[in-house]
Subunit: 380 residues, 4 copies
Amino acid sequence: MSDKTKDNTVKDYDGTKTPLQTPDERVGYAVIGLGDLTEEELYPAFGRSARSRLVALVSGDKEKATIQARQLGLKDSDVYDYDHFEELEKRDDVQAVFIVLPNSLHREYTERAAKIGKHVLCEKPLSVSVADAEAMVEACKAANVLLMTAYRIQYTPHHQAAREILDNGKLGRAKLMTAVDVQTEPNEGQWRLKAKLAGGGSLLDVGLYCLNTARFLTGEEPYEVFAYTHSTEGDPRFTEVEESVQFTLRFPSGLISSNFCSYGTSKHRSLRVLAEKGNLLLDPAFDYTNLRLIRDTETEVTETLVKEVDQFALEIDHFSECVQTGQQPYTPGEEGVQDQRIMEAIYRSAKEGRPVQLERFEGRDVFRGKAPTQPGRERS
Amino acid sequence: MSDKTKDNTVKDYDGTKTPLQTPDERVGYAVIGLGDLTEEELYPAFGRSARSRLVALVSGDKEKATIQARQLGLKDSDVYDYDHFEELEKRDDVQAVFIVLPNSLHREYTERAAKIGKHVLCEKPLSVSVADAEAMVEACKAANVLLMTAYRIQYTPHHQAAREILDNGKLGRAKLMTAVDVQTEPNEGQWRLKAKLAGGGSLLDVGLYCLNTARFLTGEEPYEVFAYTHSTEGDPRFTEVEESVQFTLRFPSGLISSNFCSYGTSKHRSLRVLAEKGNLLLDPAFDYTNLRLIRDTETEVTETLVKEVDQFALEIDHFSECVQTGQQPYTPGEEGVQDQRIMEAIYRSAKEGRPVQLERFEGRDVFRGKAPTQPGRERS
Amino acid sequence: MSDKTKDNTVKDYDGTKTPLQTPDERVGYAVIGLGDLTEEELYPAFGRSARSRLVALVSGDKEKATIQARQLGLKDSDVYDYDHFEELEKRDDVQAVFIVLPNSLHREYTERAAKIGKHVLCEKPLSVSVADAEAMVEACKAANVLLMTAYRIQYTPHHQAAREILDNGKLGRAKLMTAVDVQTEPNEGQWRLKAKLAGGGSLLDVGLYCLNTARFLTGEEPYEVFAYTHSTEGDPRFTEVEESVQFTLRFPSGLISSNFCSYGTSKHRSLRVLAEKGNLLLDPAFDYTNLRLIRDTETEVTETLVKEVDQFALEIDHFSECVQTGQQPYTPGEEGVQDQRIMEAIYRSAKEGRPVQLERFEGRDVFRGKAPTQPGRERS
Amino acid sequence: MSDKTKDNTVKDYDGTKTPLQTPDERVGYAVIGLGDLTEEELYPAFGRSARSRLVALVSGDKEKATIQARQLGLKDSDVYDYDHFEELEKRDDVQAVFIVLPNSLHREYTERAAKIGKHVLCEKPLSVSVADAEAMVEACKAANVLLMTAYRIQYTPHHQAAREILDNGKLGRAKLMTAVDVQTEPNEGQWRLKAKLAGGGSLLDVGLYCLNTARFLTGEEPYEVFAYTHSTEGDPRFTEVEESVQFTLRFPSGLISSNFCSYGTSKHRSLRVLAEKGNLLLDPAFDYTNLRLIRDTETEVTETLVKEVDQFALEIDHFSECVQTGQQPYTPGEEGVQDQRIMEAIYRSAKEGRPVQLERFEGRDVFRGKAPTQPGRERS
């Protein structure tokens, strides 16, 4: 194997190279919440980032956090528990926090972070209610810090390529988008099944992928929703939150979006768009790796081979770029608030057994900031 | 290549052999309506059948019919025009008619056939309204002839295998069934786009595949439906009938069925069932050939290789067997009437913007006759 | 379903229409040998042909032949046994014979047909030796009748499309072609396993598909071959003929072709071409239906959806056209002779454990006649 | 997202958990050669390992090495250039070296490492000649250190699952194994295209995957080989080493293995085994991620979903376990020597235009150590 000279860059998924910033140039993050996602995805993502670095851990379990810190080359003093969170204020090397806590805690930690002047990258869903979500946007605005909803799929090449195919018109007008995001939540005690912590069931977690991706791929906002919820009778997992939701959205262009999410079904994640001259399939959609993007016309079936990238690194680096330049993120807090509004309408429709109207918005990408210059990452 | 002795049978799709009846033993058919389906599918199907034979053609275009008759080895005197249809009464070798006319003519020809004592195999949809469909059932009952709705998919191995997989419980409880049947109807002048002839748009044609298959695979009857219809503004094809329908059905077991049909979308036909322990995919579903049946669990993806058969031959031979034995067909007129009821409810829901309730039925296969002894065909 | 007027044509696989000739205009065929292929493929193919018709059957089993004749709308007097074959001379409506007999009988019936002035379409392999094959070509030349080797794959859209893709240069230079055609021959008593009738084992039957397709796709002739044969020790099926052959061919362009055929292996038929800028896959290759043609490059995987056609009808109609116009078939006897030469070299290489040289030929399509004007079929 | 307590383990690909050793318990490695493989695969692999840690870097480019060291949390004093390699002797925390240098340097660094008492994990191919490879085995034996050939594929779940399927007999006797490993080596100046550094062309690099996997999957040793090499005339990349090799191996069980490797062909890596009752496909085979393992029988096509793991971590941890326990690696130096012998026979066959005999070995896994207790990793 070769020992050839390498320049100090990371290769981007389109082949271009991003110069790696030196540690001092990078945006430093404190991660709050050290669950599976943090350990399995975020730690490696920081290792593959070009403008971000992990400099502090915040956790309720100091022992675990300390072990992890050592593995990461951090000092014991880089570990904070929830009570001492505000001490991060003194840390100039921490410019941003990444909130990876149960949904109902997003508001509290966003507000606490804003108060000590840290920018906030917050896992989806932004919160558990429209009111909370709006309060988070307000708090960050007041503190003059940035707020980004961590909608990973909007930063990933396969989903971006799907949007481009729909935009370029070769498939003609899209008529239906049908998305499924289901999985088995086996553990009765999981916080996701507790109304107080999760704020809802499968809709707020996996269903939000369907919803947010429908909005992202069309660039439009739905004006009407109809939904059914369903929980298997007698299943002890679904006493506080719903098991499944089937929801249908109508978009101004005439497109109908039909979606299904569930916590009681073997894992499957896919999305299909049926258009005049062909159809587009993401199967799997939404996943961290191995996404497949396939187009069907009457004469050809084509899979576009999109290079695999670290989706989390792209997402984090976009936020770092915003922090460094002061620009609004592509998926700011407002983008998360809008999904919260639609999810509330979905629950209302299911409860009242009738379609529910939503505020109409004209134009595209109403709640989004400037798109990443290059898909997912800027190059200088 | 071999000249080895062959016995006089047709091989069935499960490898067993059906003895070919001699011409005199077979049920003789007059086909009414000589369009594409008749020419491309039904003529070869009679050639592959074991208990059916084609003995007369009924058409408005005598010249075309005569050319086709000669190619089929029939005599010129085996051709009838619509005005002389009743002359078939004298033909003892014609025991049944196969109606392949535009939907709105189904009732008239069913009643005329019943009057002259011929059994009726009628293409789907059974008719254009519940009232007409019920009248057809009545007419056949009064005349003591059998009436079968030609629901091909209920006689075909892939769809039957899908039903068996759901029944055997290995995938656990089914939570969602999502089906798509869309195609482009390019020709403004086509009878399918004329309200008077077709009685409706994509729902009555391709949408009915989704609906009927959902009922077939579950064995249940839906108790509620919600629907949206949509026609692209300004598209001259969709001035009389709807372009697309998105409809959601609720079944007693808790299963939700989400369906989309359209005449304005590039061809796609698939069906997926999401269940507790895996999911089941037919892609394509509904087609005449090349169906694929795939099961997914957490550990395996399995495509069951079902032998290809002539689906129309299976369907016709089932009806012939009913004629010979006097038993009720698996998909009698009543099965068609029930779909007609649900389709009327779908249109009503779309029009009124609210879910519509349907009569509740307990038990399985409420409207079906005895299932074919062996999948699709009896062996003696 | 529609009863709309249809013109009197068959739709070709590229969408154009071929006018159906009237029965009198068509080339009349006697089929010799009524095994599975004849019954399951050739009878339907004549039904789908545009310039061919089946008018006589020749068989050793008169009873079976008579039943089949009646089903086909032929008279009892259209059935001949082998002893009365020469009576076909008087039949002006029989212009050609289609020989579908065990390999070792091909020469005899070709010579007998030539003697009575009938054109010969002969199943592959043309014969069981170079000497016999050359004699057949001579006999037909002397009698001034056409001889065509029934190389179906050279008349079928998927294989033709594969050749076009390689020709158009978009994949760059082809470096390797690897083909597999294996199946299980379960029946010890089958004529294919008898040296006297078959003239060889898997090579002459399935292996010939690999060989002939390699020559067809490249248009070149191999100049060297190396081969291994193998028969499982103690397997009673393979006492007279070989079970498997692995053979490697070298072509003038530098392409290496690696092939495997077997009678002792679960069915699989595929072909892959590895080229500079991508690769081409036929999987399955060679089959009668459901062929799939897939291209892979670094950025895309594309399946070309080629319309399904009756491959046998295309093949037979090409020969009928040659009979009607006097032109040399695309795959004349000479094409079959060349494969016979290469197969003899394959057996010699395996026996002597060394590469065997073949006569070198420059240019493309050295042994082929004019290609069908349109893929597979001429239109007037 | 969750902050739930996690135990200190890594999840293994079969769901079991391996306890993470503490830094002091782990085997410390110096990596020699900091090319793409090292940077992109080995650094992350050490991060995912359970009993291995990276403690020193050896490179000719000190600046690059220092930057990488800092990113990895190493000190500047952990970087060594080639001249100071022997200083590692003093480093008690370095028990093993991982050689990732051009092939022709493998012997030198193995011998130097052995001399200073370090165990050697050496990238494949073990060396550039049988003589060199045997010398390496001797040197390590003499110095009483372990030598392992880094045959990653023998430690990876998909390839192990393929071997198990062949072993369990459900597919019956395997008759053919056909493997392809081709790619484009675009860069004329690359060391892989220099005879002195690489010791050969595509065979020693990608072809070795085909060869080693054929031996691994069968557990047998080939007794005869026949080969063709080919280089495109005038291609400046292939003046020193061959572009492509087609080689056929015969195994004692009767299985024939047909292989193709190339540096002049668009990337493709697959392997198919044709057996009595079905066939087995790895497509892609050999890759670092996204391998697919598919079985075909007459009735089903089944893809086994094997969990993705870090293949390099499995490989390295196996060697660490051997270092800790003193057992012989599964793929010791001897395993590499045997491939070297076969590759020399392949080159000889191609040069002399005849099959070449190899020493016959009875029994299975003649050159392998004890298999990893659990696929790829031991659990205590």
